[in-house]
């Protein structure tokens, strides 16, 4: 015999293995340190192919310039001698490393490595520091503006509660209270935005306030405040700057070839040297950041357009010929960046960011001493739409993945809520709503999970019937809505407004549009637009930890969660999925290796084309052109003479 208490409340979500929030924080701090080291290592690994592309390019440009200069005013022979020595050294080192031939003393190897790695490293560092300095004074106004955020209204109870909750959490954390902004979006989500705790902003959507109760709201704000206190703003800034630096490298390489990158570059320069009002400046910063993030996307860039325009003029043809190595360098750099960002550096940074989320979760528990509130808030958000419009590259800052996370969806609400919902549904039947044929509202004595699930289905089918025009069903839903009152804790939110349903039945277009919009935000269709998911598109691992993992950790800290009622897939399906993984895993590994081979070939090709290019340039500048032209003119004159004689 099942009693409601034992069935509904305490099916643990995961094995309990209690951990205090102090321990959890310590563990996550250690994890952060590990992940940071991993990130640095990944950046180093990514830097190797990048320098292998950029360094020869750099030397080729230097040599070409030297040739040109040499033609007009001869350079000292020492320059050519040392260049020659270096080239010979590079050849020897490459021969030893690649073909395992010959012996090399360590000093030579060190010089060779320095020569190859130094220009790339120096360039990357200079660009990165430049990006950091560039966006440091940008502030957060631009992001806030792009989110269309507004100040909370003190006369509104929910918004007052939010402002109070932020104050309370700031007091608990001993921080200056962050500024609160609200977004009127359809999704329920929130983020902490800023560059330092002093200018931190907490941005929440209005829908979040409507969907969560005060405790849950406080827990969520606690997460954001703890995140600010842990210094996540600084980390987020660094992570973003790495992506922006990559965008900058591509912009720089593209700059000679097209308007788009030139205008981006021009905007960056203007932004760097202009000092205007703070608002305009931060709006500028946001735009520039968005431009750089856009440059990272692998769609056709200026250089592709330059080489693929259909009818090139003569000058363009000549320019194409001269700048052919740029194409290979560009392709190699883009390919390298794309591959290593998505597969190596991006995931590392995403994992780093995930540990920060877990850390902030533990921090929220420390501040509120109420793990239940945060867990239930996350559960509620899993049921909700979490879309945020216009966040662009800031989306990874949000507390729950804006593209939705349903891993906690379908969990049954606590026993008392279940009981209440059942009672209300029955009361609605008594209060005059007719009973649909085939549905017996008094089927069993006590509420148990199966019955709750059954009733939920029943409610849904009644709604469907009401929409389809069944008068009885409509009456019953109306009665249910009446007795339910404005209790948002019943987990029935997100259903369309009943009045809208009735209006829609009568053909009210506005009501139909509202229902449709609700449906779309709950179950967004199709791919998100570019820019909407921001940095997340550059990492195959999401920046947001899955909600069920977060819930598991909260449960260790004492939260009482009920497991999702969604049935696990059958054994056969599991075996099929495992087999699929077994097949796909090696295929993916092979694809990765192939990609590496392609990148290596690109690097080699780049080197070859550069060498060829240099050889042609060297040959061209080694000729005595005036003499050659004289000879040529003489030759033509001779020809003409021969022809005229023949006549």
């Amino acid at each position: 015999m099942n009693t409601p208490e034992t069935t509904a409340t305490t099916r643990p979500f995961a094995p309990r293995d209690p951990e205090t929030f102090f321990k959890a924080q310590e563990r996550n701090r250690r994890a952060t340190r590990r992940m940071s080291a991993l990130c640095v290592f990944a950046a180093f690994l990514m830097g190797i192919p990048l320098t292998l592309v950029l360094t020869p390019f750099f030397y080729a440009i230097t040599m070409a310039t030297a040739e040109v200069v040499n033609y007009f005013s001869p350079l000292p022979p020492e320059f050519w001698q040392s260049a020659n020595n270096l080239a010979k050294l590079a050849y020897r080192v490459a021969d030893t490393v690649i073909n395992q031939r010959g012996v090399l003393d360590p000093q030579e190897l060190a010089i060779g490595a320095t020569l190859v790695l130094l220009p790339g490293i120096a360039l990357a560092l200079v660009l990165w520091v430049g990006t950091l300095l560039l966006f440091r004074h940008g502030g957060v106004g631009g992001t806030i503006a792009s989110l269309n955020a507004r100040e909370p209204n003190q006369a509104d109870l929910k918004e007052l509660q939010l402002a109070d909750a932020v104050q309370e959490m700031a007091i608990a954390a001993g921080l200056p209270a962050p500024k609160v902004m609200l977004i009127d979006s359809l999704g329920a989500n929130g983020a902490a935005i800023g560059t330092s705790p002093a200018d931190a902003h907490i941005v929440l959507s209005r829908r979040l306030l409507d969907d969560l109760n005060r405790d849950q709201l406080q827990a969520l704000v606690g997460h954001l405040v703890a995140s600010v206190g842990n210094g996540d703003l600084h980390i987020a800034f660094t992570v973003t700057s790495v992506f922006e630096t990559c965008g900058l490298i591509i912009t720089l390489i593209n700059a000679p070839f097209g308007k788009q990158s030139r205008s981006t570059l021009w905007r960056i320069i203007r932004y760097a040297f202009r000092r205007g009002p703070a608002d305009a400046e931060s709006a500028d910063a946001d735009e520039v950041a968005a431009l750089l993030a856009d440059m990272l996307d692998m769609n056709s860039t200026d250089i592709d357009r330059f080489f693929s325009s259909r009818k090139p003029g003569l000058i363009r043809k000549f320019l194409r010929l001269v700048s052919y190595p740029f194409l290979f360098t560009n392709l190699a750099v883009e390919l390298t960046l794309w591959f290593f960002l998505n597969v190596l550096l991006g995931p590392c940074m995403a994992l780093l960011w995930r540990t920060r989320r877990y850390l902030a979760d533990a921090g929220a528990v420390e501040l509120t001493r109420n793990p239940d509130a945060l867990a239930s808030a996350l559960q509620r958000l899993s049921e909700d739409s979490t879309v945020v419009a216009g966040g662009s590259w800031a989306t990874h800052l949000f507390v729950v993945n804006p593209s939705g996370d349903r891993s906690l969806r379908g969990s049954s609400p606590p026993a008392n809520q279940q009981r209440k919902a059942l009672e209300l549904w029955r009361a609605a039947a008594n209060a005059g709503g007719a009973v649909l044929p085939g549905i017996n509202p008094f089927s069993s004595a006590g509420p148990n999970p199966e019955e709750y699930v059954r009733v939920r289905k029943e409610i849904m089918s009644t709604v469907m019937a009401a929409v389809a025009g069944n008068v009885d069903a409509a009456a019953r839903m109306q009665a249910f809505a009446r007795v339910m009152g404005a209790d948002p804790a019943l987990g029935l939110h997100g259903m369309p407004n009943l009045n809208d349903i009735f209006l829609a039945q009568r053909g009210d277009r506005a009501a139909i549009a509202r229902i449709r919009m609700l449906q779309q935000t709950r179950y967004p269709q199709g791919q998100p637009k570019r820019g909407q998911t921001g940095l997340q598109t550059h990492s195959f691992v999401s920046f947001h930890p899955p909600l069920n993992k977060r819930a598991k950790r909260l449960q260790k800290m004492g939260a009482h969660l009920t497991a999702p009622t969604r049935k696990g897939s059958s054994a056969v399906a599991k075996i099929v999925i495992a087999l699929l993984y077994l097949i796909i895993g090696p295929l993916l590994a092979v694809a990765g290796v192939l990609m590496l081979v392609v990148i290596a070939m690109m690097i080699g090709l780049n080197l070859m084309v550069l060498t060829l290019w240099l050889a042609v340039i060297h040959w061209a500048f080694a000729q005595d052109w005036p003499k050659n032209i004289q000879a040529f003119v003489g030759f033509v004159q001779q020809l003409i003479a021969i022809f005229s004689k023949a006549r």
Binding site: E168, A172, G174, Q218, R369, N370
Partner: protein, 191 residues
């Protein structure tokens, strides 16, 4: 030769020890200031409540004029709390009494349906909730600061420095008696 090497080693060791001393001392100062700051934060929140109470009484007066006793009890408790002075024990008792009186007021207000339904009352209730929460969180923050400080001065190398400069463990804020006496008027936070 040997002596000069020894001398250098000694100088380096002394310099390192001094650096360590400097660092630990500064950390201790910062932590103790943190504790003091947290303590004064509690005061700030208590004053916040003192300032809120007259508004509160003002706005419910119209609805519950014949609950004069309750209203007067609140006013009395407030002035007693404001006059309580610097002694921690006396102040704690006075603030506890104020908490109880305000809680009682809200418990009584539950009996007035038109008052309960008004938006104004809901806002007031929220204000009261947040004041109580702020005080509780300020205490929590204070206790956390004290815990960190106490752990820090008791840990091995630092305990010598702390002892030498006369740092001793600060007292935690014991909130048990207080929380039990406060009637549960809002659902927002469990102690």
């Amino acid at each position: 030769m040997d002596i000069s090497a020894l001398l250098i080693a000694v100088i380096v060791a002394v310099a390192l020890a001094l650096l360590f001393l400097l660092r630990v001392y500064n950390q201790l100062v910062a932590m103790r200031n943190n504790v003091r700051n947290a303590w004064s934060d509690i005061d700030v929140q208590l004053t916040f409540r003192h300032n809120l109470v007259p508004n509160l009484v003002e706005s419910v007066q119209g609805y519950m004029s014949h609950e004069r006793e309750t209203l007067e009890a609140v006013a009395r408790a407030r002035s007693a709390a404001m006059k309580a002075g610097a002694d921690v024990a006396i102040r704690t008792v006075a603030e506890m009494a104020l908490s109880g009186a305000v809680g009682n007021l809200f418990a009584v207000a539950e009996r007035y349906p038109e008052l309960k339904a008004s938006q104004n009352f809901l806002l007031l209730q929220e204000q009261l909730t947040t004041t109580e929460n702020r005080i509780a969180f300020a205490r929590q923050h204070y206790n956390e600061a004290v815990r960190k400080f106490n752990t820090s001065i008791a840990e091995f190398p630092r305990n010598f420095v702390a002892g030498a400069f006369g740092y001793c463990a600060e007292k935690m804020f014991a909130a048990e008696s207080q929380d039990q006496s406060t009637p549960q008027i809002t659902t927002s936070r469990k102690p």
